[in-house]
Symmetry: C2
Subunit: 381 residues, 2 copies
Amino acid sequence: MRNFIYKNPTQLVFGKGEIARLSSLIPTEKKVLITFGGGSVKKNGVYEEVISALKDHHYIEFWGIEPNPTVETLRKAIEIGKENEVDFLLAVGGGSVLDGTKLIASALATPETEAWDIVLKGKAAKTLPYASVMTLPATGSEMNNGAVISRSETKEKYSFYSAYPQFSILDPQTTFSLPKNQLANGLADVYVHVIEQYLTTTGQSRIMDRWAEGILLTVLEIAPQIMQNSQDYDLMADFMLSATLALNDMIRMGVIEDWATHMIGHELTALHGISHGASLAIVLPGIMKILKEQKHNKLLQYAERVFGLKEGSENDRIDQAIQQTENFFHSIGLATTLSEAGIPETAISIIKERFNKAGVKYGEKANVTGDLAEQILTIQK
Amino acid sequence: MRNFIYKNPTQLVFGKGEIARLSSLIPTEKKVLITFGGGSVKKNGVYEEVISALKDHHYIEFWGIEPNPTVETLRKAIEIGKENEVDFLLAVGGGSVLDGTKLIASALATPETEAWDIVLKGKAAKTLPYASVMTLPATGSEMNNGAVISRSETKEKYSFYSAYPQFSILDPQTTFSLPKNQLANGLADVYVHVIEQYLTTTGQSRIMDRWAEGILLTVLEIAPQIMQNSQDYDLMADFMLSATLALNDMIRMGVIEDWATHMIGHELTALHGISHGASLAIVLPGIMKILKEQKHNKLLQYAERVFGLKEGSENDRIDQAIQQTENFFHSIGLATTLSEAGIPETAISIIKERFNKAGVKYGEKANVTGDLAEQILTIQK
């Protein structure tokens, strides 16, 4: 096991009716900027719950943070925050609203630095206190310090780190009205978050392996049921909690991480607007196939413990596990090839060139270059 | 899933050589009381590492916090803390030293309240900042706010809650010299901590079940190897991390807990001085046998997922799982009956009477009374 430091101070407030707790969780002397996405929270009742809980607070609203939030949109919120001397932010919505809010809160805390420069630096020097009401199980943003921000004019998409949310409220009832494509994207995102922290060298930590496998098994168990019925409280509660636990530092203690799937997926999203979860469903099988030798032992463990594959040759078991991974994505309605997803093959050479030009080397072994990304996408074309 | 609030602010600093980080983790302006047990840290080099890291700090030492720490001993440390106007505490040793330090830190923060009254209240109003260098994987005290304190004169033993440690440093190398009985007690303690949060009603949370099972499987895998060789870094790292994760609030999100095994075990320790882990190895099989019907479904899941038992009637599988649980305790050298452990049968009626007199009702269903405790201990006599 590698040395590590873990500290996650976010308070997780979980369960039905918990949005009402906002009234006491945010001090009344705060000037709050509440941030929203496109308006789904007005349809599912979340907006009213939030506003009712904050009726004795001083707040203003900012609407319109888009999926894959752009710095161009966030700059408007930063201006409004400055003008109104905001000192607390509350994101209400999914991971995009919250990621965007992490940048707003960081830019407001360091007015001398331009917002995109904070993203390029990779880490905010300071962040105003902020919190979330999370309504979409997917990114895990509700209990981590990471955020992914896009820049429209250059089609770039990068992550940076802020402070952790002070608290996040998760009421599974708020997910009941999610459309099927968002459920599928969320399930894929959670699954691949775990894979990024799991599908590396074997023998690093038995307990971290078990916890990662525990989330994978849970997602595989609940996914088909959720796609049939997203109004079962206990199912959606396990989905929401799994999403949080997949990316809140708890399953990465002492182990190396990968993240090559995400880095290639981000490019597909930036270039073709495909949603984040859907991009991962294409890239992950390619990573498994092209890096099959490098990840041989862990793929074998994955085959046995996650899919119960114990018969046949090692290579057969690995091939079956990769096939079952693709089957899982298909079963929730996601494409696993570029052509199925309607992405032209030209994307492959563009990504290859962007990676090679930037000289990036992603993945646990720092060997996923532009050339390897080309192979990974070509096998999934 | 039940509603829950999770917030664990402790910083976990894990790995070889990390004790040196004390120099920067504790502000130099603090007056530190360092607390110790009986002196094993002088033999394994930990004392020297701590003192060397704190050479620029102002500190005093308190030695002699015993296993199952008593309020009588802790009162002496509280006096010394007051006289020296201590404002930070550092526990160096195992769970007993740290539990005792939680009471010292709480009593120093609320000088108007007598130490035992804080224990009886169950919750400290305030706690001075404190931290730990944990050298014994067992109690999980390094990342939770609980502590168990004994009172010699009345043979009582109760838990109370303080603040969480500011940080805990865990270097697996510090465990290499632990004697076999402490390894066994620690393994049993970790195993039963998980069981207390797992062996309840089924269907509460799929992901919490998987995480609990993940720790159980890890302990069962590493225990026989550790009893043969406690100097394997990766084995001891998985043991230490499992001990922390077994009782740091992470596997109890949204689920009911039991703790009847611990409550009866505490009585055996208070009355006969048997070590904590060893007491649990006797009580747990009794709980499983007497509450077999109530816990039928979860025992069946435990049989299948933890021991791979899928053949035979449901009752057979459950009986086998209970037998395998006893086998596990025996394999690490622990007794599972009162007579094996040298505890007289008279303990049974004394505990029955104490429970009935106090009117306690322990366990997930609040049905473990003195009469049920009598049955649980009688079947393990």
